[in-house]
Each structure stands twice: as C-alpha cells, then as structure tokens.
C-alpha cells in the first residue's frame, strides 16, 4: 500500500510537471495556431538563470523568481519577433516549426558554450529532506510542484475567465476578426500569449530544477512529453493539460513498477494514440465542423 501511494504521489508530481510545460503549448496554440517547438529549452533557460542567481550568487529566492520572470518575458519577446511573427506572415505551413526549432538549437548551444554542458544541483528552497508520513516519503519540492502547477493553471484559466483582457484572449482564440471589431489588438494578444507561455516555461524551469538538476539538456525530453500531454487533453483546453499530465505521469510510474522499466514510456504513447483515434481533438478538444 505504501508503495502504491508512493508511486501515486511520484506519478502525480511528474504529471504536474508535464502539465505545466504542456500548458505553455496550449496558451499560444489557442491564439495563434502555433507553438514553440523549443519550449523545453525555454524551461532550461529558466533553470539555468535561476541556478546562476540563486545558487551561485546567493540572491534572495523571490528576487531570483522575479529575474526569471523577466528573462521569460525577454525571451518570449525575442522569440516572437525573430521567429513567430515572420513565420505567421510567411505562406509556408512549416515555417513556425522550423523557426522555433532553429531558435531552440541556438539557445541550447549558447548555454552550452557560454555556460556549461554539465548538470548541476539546485537545492530546493524548502530543503531536500523528504517528509515522511507512514512509510511514504514525499519531497517538499514535489508538493510545491503540484501546488504551483495547479495554481498557475487555475490562475491563468481564471484570468481568462474573469478579467477583461483574459476574455479578450478567449475572444481572439475563438474569432480573430470579430475580436478586433471589439477593439482587441489581436497581434498584441498573440504576443502576450507567447510572453505568458515563455514566462511559465521559465518558472517551470526553476520549479523542476531541484528534481531534475539544471543543465543544457534538461528540457529536451520534458518538451516532447509535454507536447503529448497537451494533445491528449486537447490543445485548446486549459484544464485538459492537467488530465493529460496525470495520464502520462501515472502511466509511467505504474508501468515502470508493475510491467517493465524499459517499457515505461510505451503505455502513455499507446493511450495517446488510442485517445486520438476516438477523440481526434483530444479529450476536451472541440471538434470543429468545416463548412464547405
């Protein structure tokens, strides 16, 4: 039983990490039909900046978080200006894929060249000692991840639901032209969604850092898995990423324990394929009827 609960908590924490990263795809896809294929590298940058400031230079935790948010904003702006805006204007369907991939290659290798190729420890501000209840150990950071991931998703979704600018974002994702008739600047909304997505990625970077360690390659696998997670839930459904994250996170944990560690990833991907065969837009996705 303890084992089961231990796996459950680990799976949930892992799932929430995926969900948080996946949420970044979700936000930009709904406004612009595109997303950052190098999202994982933005997460990595957040982790690296956090490590340099918080661990290496001992600046206060909150100041570091603020700095990481600023880095996220800056990177989001650069990404938007150099890759997204030109790609959305270009007629090629693949432009945004290639542009964001190229951006990620540059980012990752800049970090490798100008910083380090190594992986570094990032001490959790909550300490590394597990909390032990019965025979189940939980890292404080795992609880923090679950809480913060839920908070961010709920906060952003509430922001979209309850504030006027949030509603404008929903309006743009639903119908760009009509939204602009309301006086909503759709270009700015798209830029905003990329900024938000980048900031969340960078925050996710410092959030997962104590679990994953910090290094230039920390985001690669996360980025791909999170892509799957966002699709399972439905790319256009905010809360869908939470369910998608749980499905993948838990299926990994339980497969590794009860089936085979080597096949850990397989059930998650099988579920993904099966879900999409029956629900082509993901679990919470809206199926759009195309008019001829």
């Amino acid at each position: 039983m303890e084992q089961f609960i231990q796996l459950l908590i680990g799976g949930i924490a892992q799932g929430m990490i995926y969900a948080l990263v996946a949420f970044g795809y979700n936000i930009t896809f709904s406004t612009s039909r595109s997303f950052n294929f190098s999202h994982g590298n933005f997460l990595m940058l957040g982790g690296v900046v956090g490590l340099i400031l918080y661990i290496n230079n001992q600046i206060p935790f909150l100041a570091m978080v603020l700095a990481v948010v600023l880095v996220g904003l800056l990177m989001g702006l650069i990404l938007y200006k150099t890759s997204i805006e030109p790609s959305l204007k270009s007629k090629s369907n693949y432009a945004w894929i290639l542009a964001t991939l190229a951006f990620g290659i540059i980012l990752k290798n800049m970090v490798e060249v100008f910083w380090s190729t190594d992986d570094f420890r990032f001490d959790s501000p909550l300490g590394n000692a597990p909390i032990r209840v019965m025979d189940v150990g939980v890292l404080p950071q795992e609880i923090l991840i679950i809480v913060v991931a839920l908070c961010i998703v709920v906060a952003v979704e509430s922001f979209k639901k309850y504030t006027i600018f949030g509603k404008a974002i929903v309006a743009v994702s639903e119908d760009k032209n009509t939204a602009s008739l309301m006086g909503i600047n759709q270009q700015f909304v798209i830029l905003f969604s990329f900024l938000l997505s980048s900031v969340i990625a960078c925050l996710a970077g410092i959030l997962v850092a104590p679990i994953t360690m910090v290094g230039a390659t920390m985001g690669t696998v996360l980025g791909v898995k999170a892509y799957a997670v966002s699709i399972i839930g439905g790319l256009e459904s905010g809360y869908g990423v939470l369910l998608g994250g749980l499905i993948i996170g838990l299926s990994e944990a339980f497969t590794a324990r009860y089936i085979s560690t080597g096949y850990k990833d397989a059930p998650g991907f099988l579920i993904l394929i099966l879900v999409l065969l029956f629900l082509p837009s993901g679990i919470f996705g809206k199926t759009v009827i195309k008019k001829v």
Binding site: L98, A102, K108, E112, Y227, A228, F269, L276
Partner: protein
C-alpha cells in the same frame, strides 16, 4: 528527345566515376553515400509532408525498422559473440532488403489509419509516439536486436566482391536513381495529383472521385517502404546499427533537412540531405560555436528562401520554362483537336436525372433543409435559388454525400445513392463546382483538369511507378483530353499557369472544366458567377447552354438572377430550408412568396 535521353543517361552515370576521380573514402563513402541514403529518407518524408501535407516526426522509426530488419537478418555470430541475440538467419543483404521494405511498409500501413482522422499538431504527435514505440520495442527486444548494444555487421559483399568503403557507392547509387525515378513518376502521375488534391481540398478531391483513405494509406505505405529501403542501406553505412541513432531528434533533423531543401522537389530532397551531412563538417572549424551558427543559418534560409534551397533554384529555372510550355501547348492542341468531349456513358434512358424525396437536414436545432421534394429532368438546367441561409448549399452537400441527411432519399437516374460516399457518387456521375473556389492552387490549370479525370485512369501502381508504356500512353491521352476541356471553357492559353495565378474569372471557368472532365451526367454549379464581371457572366451563360445541349443535366445555384432566369428551364426557390415556389423563370419572378423572401416585405403593401 531521344538524344536528350541518351545524354541524360550518360550524365546519370557520372557519379559512378566519382571514386576514380576523388580517390578518398571520406568523400565517397563518408559523405556522398551518406547523402544518398539520407536523400532517400528525405524523399520518403517528402511524400507525406510535401505531397500529402501531414507533418511526420516519426520517420526515424521507419528508418529503424528497415535498418534493423537487414541488420538482424544478415548479422553473423562472429561479430556479435557477446550479444544476447539468439537468432542469426544469415541471409544475404539483397535477400534481407526486400523483407525490410515489406515490414516497414506494413508499419506505414498501420500509421496510415490515424492519419485519416488526424491532422496538424495532432497527427504530428502521433507520429512522434509511433516512432518512440518502435524505438522502445527495438531497445527492449534483446533476443532479436541485442538491445541497446546494437548489432555489428560484416562489411558488405556482393558475389564475393567487397562493397564497403568507396565501393559502397556502386551499390547505393543505383537505388537512389531508382527511388528518385519512382518518386518522380509517382508524383507526376495521377497518383501524385491525387495526393496533392487531398492536401489542398479533401472535398474537392473526393468530388473528383478520389478516395482519401485509399490514397492516403498508400502514401504512407510507399513512404514507409522507401524509408525502409534507406534504412536497409544505412545499416551497412557504418556496418553497425544501434537503437539510439533512431531517436526523436533524428526524425526532427530529417524534417529540418526536408524543409531547408524545399518540399516537393527531388533536388530539394538531395540538397536537404547534403546540408544535413556536410554542414557539421563544413563548420567544424567553428568548433563549439558550430551549432549556434547552424541554427542561425536555418533562420536565414527560412526568411530569405521560404521555399527552401530548391525553391530558390526553381526561381532561376522558371525563366527558361516559358518557351518549352508553348511548344508543349502547341503539341497538345494538335492532339486535342481529335478529342471528342461529352462521350459519357453514365446517362441512362430516364427522364429524371435526380429525384429528391422528403430530404431533411438538421444542424443542432437548426433545420437547414426541411422535407424537400424536387426533381431535375434529364438534359435540363434547373435553377435553385433562395436568400442567404435558405439551404441551397446544404442541398448540394446532401446531393454529393458530404453531409448525411437526417431523413429522405436521393436517387440518381432512378438508382438510390443513399449512404454512398462522395467519391463513389462522383464515380456514378455527379460533379460539382464550389461557391468558395476549391482549386488545387499549386497545380497548373491542366493538372487541375487532369485531377478531374481521375476516374479515367487505369494504369496500376507498378505501371505508374516505373512509367511503363501503358501509363505513359494513358497520361498523354489524358493530357490531350484535359487540354481539350480547357479549350472548351476557353482557358487553353493558361494551361500551364498555376491555379493560384489565374484571375478569378479564369478560376471559375477552371472549376467548371475540372468538373466536366469527370464526364458527369449531373453537374452541380454552386454560384459559378459569384464575383464575376458582366462579360464573364455572359461567357458562363454560353457555357451552361453548351453543356446542356450536350445532354448533361445541370443544377444551378446562383444569386445573379439575370443569369438564372436566362439559362434555367425550371427554378426552385428555397427559404428556411423549405421549397416556397417552383416553376419557369417567368413564374418565379412574379411569385409573391418569392418577392417577400427576397425583398423583405410584400411589395404590394407599399402600393
């Protein structure tokens, strides 16, 4: 023409002399052979990404199946003495290769099914998942694959002749030529046109009689098969296969290579593969900054050559193309003179072309078409009019099988067509044009019409791939016939213009030509005059009369009342999905219900 072919044949042989010219294994085997193998994989990816229009990030999986099948089947125990492999069939390379292709093709067949329902980022993630599953399977099935340790292979020998090192070129190069030959023939045939048609507009493709499932799944099978072939050779490149080669990143790299090289182009495939192979070495002097520079170059290519390297080259080439096209057009017009249009056999002895009985369609709570009864007499033009949202287009979509009705029946020449899918109805003799143009925009006018003739092609896949004489003859006949159709609508001057470069009026005419090319018994014209000038509308009027005189029944939906009244034999008026009037044009014009529906209130109330 003959001498040209011989010259090209000789040119094709030149790369085989390279090992004599450049006596350096690095360039021949390390670079050139690698480019050849990667180019085959990029070409296979191009079939999916460029022609079908789906993004695949899982082609490394197919590549892996090919490489591993050949690896397992040809491995020897000597070189893998410490392996966990328990099965060494010791096949020769060339008997293992077809098995690899077959297995990969089967894997492609399996991936084809999700591809029918999914698109965009949803399908892309399935391809990733698929690639990962293949990777995991190879990694874990140690009894077959030696797991992560990989399989070492003997250097390739054919009939006892050493084919590793520079000699490897003699083995792979002919296959590159073969693959490119097949891909070129396939993509330039009615198969390739079907692939592209599906990409631009599934509905228009199915109205041309193209079954999306059939062609899409075949595209995945063929693409996978080629990837398997490339993988088979890859296993011999370093005579070593290990699973970690075939990762997600590998798939991504090939996608990058394809886009950088330029889609839908054999030259692009080869250039993309070359970039992938040569770039790292070219930049090795930049040492650790190499990948940053690589990333920057990618962005540059994207912004300055949005169609890839090949697109850039094609721009230059296009300047020489015009003269050839005019020669070609001249030749075609000679042949087109002998073509007899309107030789359809679909029309049966029956006075009613279409009988619609109690047809009903609902969208949610909205009743778009409400118990509609209507019949179209053979060889007449039947107008269908009504204010916006009255259910005209829905009726057309019900007739063509794009929507399934909530109730009622439709029969064509006395035969029920209920439940038939769109492409089958097209085969039965229904053709249509679209209110919002659905042309295949990157194809020429001639090619668009040839897509319309899809059902007339009979050459099988093998004949098409190898451009056998029957396929060649058929293609040439079709070209002449398509040209004749263009002449019929007056577009012969624009035969080699891409559809996207036609004027709006020309595009409307082209849609009619494409619809006629399928030899329909019933032609549905959905607002053919929308957006046209008076002169252009007059042209279409003349055309409609000509079509009618040839015995084709026409259902005309139009807002230009002058036109409807001028060409229709009978007019049906819809409002809120219901038939509110039917009769001759003159009767309709004076029908009070019609006037109310159109102008708002009964006219007489103001008198």
């Amino acid at each position: 023409m003959k001498t040209k072919k011989i010259i090209y044949g000789i040119l094709l042989l030149i790369p085989l002399c390279l090992p004599q010219v450049i006596d350096n294994q690095y360039y021949i085997q390390g670079v050139f052979c690698r480019i050849i193998i990667y180019a085959m994989l990029v070409a296979s990816l191009d079939l999916i990404v460029g022609y079908i229009g789906d993004v695949s990030i899982g082609h490394a999986g197919f590549f892996a199946i090919g490489a591993y099948t050949v690896g397992i089947l040809t491995a020897t125990q000597d070189l893998n003495s410490d392996s966990t492999m328990s099965w060494f069939p010791h096949l020769s390379f060339f008997s293992a290769l077809p098995i690899g292709i077959l297995l990969t093709a089967i894997a492609g067949f399996v991936l084809g099914f999700p591809a029918l329902r999914l698109s965009g980022p949803y399908l892309a993630v399935v391809t990733i998942a698929y690639g990962m599953l293949i990777y995991t399977f190879i990694n874990e099935q140690e009894a077959f694959t030696n797991g992560t340790k990989g399989i070492s292979l003997e250097p390739l020998q054919v009939f006892g002749i050493k084919c590793s090192g520079s000699n490897f070129l003699y083995v792979v190069y002919p296959f590159l030529v073969l693959v490119m030959f097949v891909v070129r023939n396939l993509t330039k045939s009615y198969w390739g046109r079907a692939f592209e048609a599906i990409k631009y507009s599934e509905v228009a493709a199915s109205m041309c009689g193209i079954s999306k499932s059939y062609y899409k799944i075949w595209a995945f099978v063929i693409s996978a098969g080629i990837a398997g072939l490339a993988g088979g050779f890859f296993s011999q490149l370093d005579a070593y296969v290990a699973p970690n080669t075939f990762s997600y990143n590998f798939s991504v790299e090939f996608l990058i290579a394809l886009i950088v090289g330029g889609v839908q182009s054999i030259l692009g495939n080869i250039l993309g593969a070359s970039v992938m192979v040569i770039f790292p070495d070219l930049f090795s002097n930049f040492n650790d900054y190499r990948l940053i520079i690589f990333g920057l170059s990618l962005l540059m290519v994207l912004f300055f050559m949005p169609k890839g390297l090949a697109g850039f080259v094609n721009l230059v080439k296009k300047r020489f193309a015009t003269k050839q096209d005019s020669h070609h057009a001249e030749a075609l017009s000679k042949k087109a003179a002998e073509v007899v249009l309107f030789d359809y056999t679909n029309a049966k002895e029956n006075h009613t072309a279409v009988q619609i009985t109690d047809l009903t369609m609902r969208f949610g709570g909205l009743v778009a078409v409400n118990e509609l009864n209507m019949s179209i007499k053979k060889g007449t033009v039947h107008g269908l009019i009504g204010p916006n949202g009255s259910g005209k287009s829905t009726t057309v979509n019900l007739l063509t099988g794009i929507y399934a009705p909530a109730g009622g029946a439709v029969s064509l020449f006395g035969q029920s067509i209920a439940g038939q899918s769109t492409y089958k109805r097209a085969k039965l003799g229904i053709a249509r044009t679209f209110q919002n143009l659905q042309l295949f925009s990157d194809m020429t006018a001639l090619q668009n019409v040839m897509v319309g003739m899809h059902n007339s092609f009979q050459a099988n896949l093998a004949a098409v791939c190898f451009n056998l004489p029957n396929a060649q003859r058929e293609e040439k006949r079709a070209e002449a016939r398509a040209f004749a159709w263009l002449q019929f609508v007056g577009l012969q001057e624009s035969a080699f213009t891409e559809a996207k470069n036609l004027s709006y009026g020309q595009a409307r005419l082209l849609e009619i030509a494409r619809a006629l090319a399928s030899n329909p018994a019933l032609l549905l014209l959905d607002e053919p005059a929308a957006g046209l000038t008076a002169g252009e509308i007059e042209k279409i009027n003349v055309l409609i009369r000509k079509i009618k005189d040839s015995g084709v029944s026409v259902l005309l939906i139009e807002h230009h009342m002058d036109m409807v009244m001028a060409v229709s034999d009978e007019v049906t008026v819809l409002d809120f999905g219901k038939k509110i009037a039917e009769g001759t044009p003159a009767q309709i014009q004076n029908n009070p219900a019609v006037i109310t529906a159109y102008l708002g209130t009964h006219e007489t109330s103001f008198h």
